[in-house]
Amino acid sequence: MKQVGRSVPGLPNRLLVSGHGTYVADVSLPGMCAMAVLRSPYAHARIVSIDTSRALAAPGVVYVLTGEEIARETNPIPPVADPGLYGGKSLAVRALPTDRARYVGEPVAVVVAEDRYTANRALELVDVEWEELPVVSDAEAALAPGSPLVEPSWGDNVMMHKEFTRGDARAALAAAGGRVVRGVVKAQRYVAAPIEPRAYAASWDAYAEQLTVWSSTQNPHPLRVFIAETLGIPETMIRVIQPHVGGGFGQKVPTFPEEIAVAYLARKLGRPVKWIEERTEHFLAGGHAREEVLSFEAAYGPDGRVTALDVRIVADVGAPATFVGWAMSYVTAYCVPAAYKIPHCRVELFTAVTNKCPWNGYRAFGKEAASFLMDRVMDRVADATGIDRVEVRLRNFIQPDEFPYSQVSGAMLDSGDYPRALRRVRELIGAEGFPEEQREARRQGRYLGLGFGFELTPEGCSLPHTTMLSGYDGATVRVAPDGHVTILTGVTSPGSGNETGIAQLVADTLGVGLDHVRVLQGDTDTCPYGLGNYSSRSLMIGGSAAKIAAIELREKMFKVAAKALEVNPGDLDAEDGQIFVQGAPTRRIPVRDVASLVYRHAYGPEASEVEPALESTRYFRIGNVHHQPEVQGRFSAYPTWPSGACAAVVEVDRDTGFVKVLRYAIVHDSGPIVNPMMAHGNLHGGVAQGLGGALYEHMVYDDAGQLRTGSFMDYTIPTAVEMPHCEIEMQETASPFTLTGCKGVGESGVTGPLGAVASAVENAFPELNLALMETPLMPHRVWRALRDAEAGRS
């Protein structure tokens, strides 16, 4: 039986449902100490002095580490993507600062103690003398002349300023004869909030000269590179193990100060050290995302075709750090105008630093703001022209025969059929019968609305000059003498299930059952070098590598089988553990017997012409990535462009502004699907995070740079009650640039809800001139918009 295309349950399911997974918190070694982190209570303050003597004197305290020792003993942490290499500003950042704290929650010292309770308690015995400095907690304020500087050596608060142009947007807008829509789209600050917080442990073996680091990370090999460079020791001295990871969503890409502190201290102290993040710490310092303001002007023709778009993006990326998050602002600019053909386009980006938590990677990685912007532009053009919202999108879409399509940023869109997906989702949500449904609800005093969103989620990110962000990965496939298969991958799974999909690809290639396949991931000592999990790359890149390795073994086994069956290798096929003659399946030999011949009869007549053993390590480099510099400094960074047409039906309480999503549908295109159940599961999760962003989740700071949403009571992620049933249909247009045609589904679903829900809330009140441009659509915001629109009408 073929495995690809089957809804196979996740391979680790039995282990995980029974509570026998191993997460970093479960790693326990003799003599293990606990680390606790002292964090800045101020958004911006000078560290006048740190006195550790009281803490060190406390019973049970083993060590206190400060920035002074970090500066003396370690190197700056290499950034995952240095903005300086893409036209922005660089900064060397170490694990702990010596001079200043630049955001609330920045680590300034760590305490190691015999147990966690003692370590936490000793934090209050570390005496820090602070001198408060002026704070800037808003991006526009940060860009204004005379603003306090987050990084004084830069001279301003602009980490990056970028402009992409095609045609002449300003001239086209001026010539549009007033057919111009304008608006300001605001995306709020977000946090990933995996249910497992960050977690690290490390142990040093002085005799073997080996540092073992257990990290709840998505990227063990790059993390090893970064730890080696920071500690100034060879990579071969370090083993990074990624045990089970309790959710990543991009937030667990390297490198955090705490990762370095744990690794450094284990070696320094000669004792195992463990740190488990408290939830409050995750909110304060785990890395945020998404806070962007996008001001647009769009010119359109009488037929609703958008002829020009001018966008100014201001991103508030928090304080400069080693995190990769800042790059999300670049990606937002890079993805405009998403799925649409606009002849005159100008996109200007200001990436501003502020005294807030630095961004780190988060699912959708800036792409969501670009699609949300374009959804809002399309709906405003629909309002202005009176043309149906779906029709406006259809008229502006890139058409299926126009791929590969080059966008203004240098992005090279690979494939898709946007019109078909949008038409289909309109059917799926029941748009035809909706007006009657809406009228009937009105008669009962209920307000229903239907809205549409269209998301474009490029995947397989590959930037020039980075250790981690590149479009290749490796895999080893081994067939044991008994015919059982082991796959070792450079990609990892933080719970997203790619191990199962990769096993399915390899099982089909080798013709064995899934029960004969085991997948090992996340160990730098056993797995081939690889870049780990991000940008939905694990199946399409890691899976391709595994498939290439499996093809190599298949060819080798066919050579041996052909001798045994006295046919040509080209006559053979394999399935269900048998290699057989095509058209004559009774002439066959078990895979197990072929493996046995290779290993046990290396000089025999069947196997003597092949190299002994059945093991192959292969790498796959994906196509459609172009890094050669061109006139605007543009490059094609994303090989594949999955898309999703989304629709939501909402009910709005006119008196309170409360929005309830009644049903949600998505027609998604990420190419051929290896495991439909896993793909649907990823989409469900993406939609939940998207609806969280559309309606509930918001990281709020006050003017002093103090976080006001430091717990799950304040930062509310959806529960099962808030989530509607989600209807999913897959449309499969293959990417011509990947081995399997797969385009990735890991970040999909997150983006569409923003546009679909805003559009649906507006649609609930067709008589009002609502234009909802800011998420989350919390009750007070919707209530205010309704009152303003009513006042405007009367």
């Binding site: 809804s7 349950p9 996740g10 680790p12 399911n13 039995r14 282990l15 995980l16 449902v17 029974s18 509570g19 026998h20 997974g21 191993t22 997460y23 918190a25 479960d26 326990s28 309770y117 990933a192 909030a193 995996p194 249910i195 497992e196 917080p197 089970h244 990871v245 309790g246 959710g247 969503f249 488990i276 408290e278 939830r279 933080p494 719970g495 997203s496 299930g497 159940m677 896993m678 649907h680 599961g681 990823n682 989409l683 469900h684 999760g685 993406g686 939609v687 939940a688 995070q689 717990s711 799950f712 009571m713 992620i717 959806p718 529960t719 099962a720 009650v721 989530m723 049933h725 989600c726």
Partner: protein
Amino acid sequence: MKVPVKVTVNKKPYSVEVDTRMILADMLRDVLRLTGTHIGCGTGSCGACTVMLNGETVKSCSILAADVDGQEVTTIEGVSNGANQLHPVQEAFVQHQGLQCGYCTPGMILSAIQLLKENPNPSESDIRHGIAGNLCRCTGYQFIVESIQAAAKAGVKV
């Protein structure tokens, strides 16, 4: 300060000494080494640490270990009968992919068992409300709901 605690966990009696500040979740994990109970927030908001105390679900991060003296606790490890004999609710989660990363899963399964105990034929809305105290960031809950529906349909004895 330490206090003695006698507690039955997964039908096995334990006599331990715990710090008076210690929470039940830490006692289960660090003292008894039952690491299937996970901690996601420490403030009773996420439900990852859900266990049964005297047959009722509780959030074990919000109960002091010293307070369970003389009582009975069931953790995820006590739900199945070995690796080859999962609880039917666990089996439903396996088959219907009611999990991804697995971190919230033990707590979610205990809440599902509690729900089915009280209401063997829950509606979709009953299920959603029954697990509202357990946050999951991976699945969007849909396959969790379907797993519980499947377990209910199969007439699971809990």
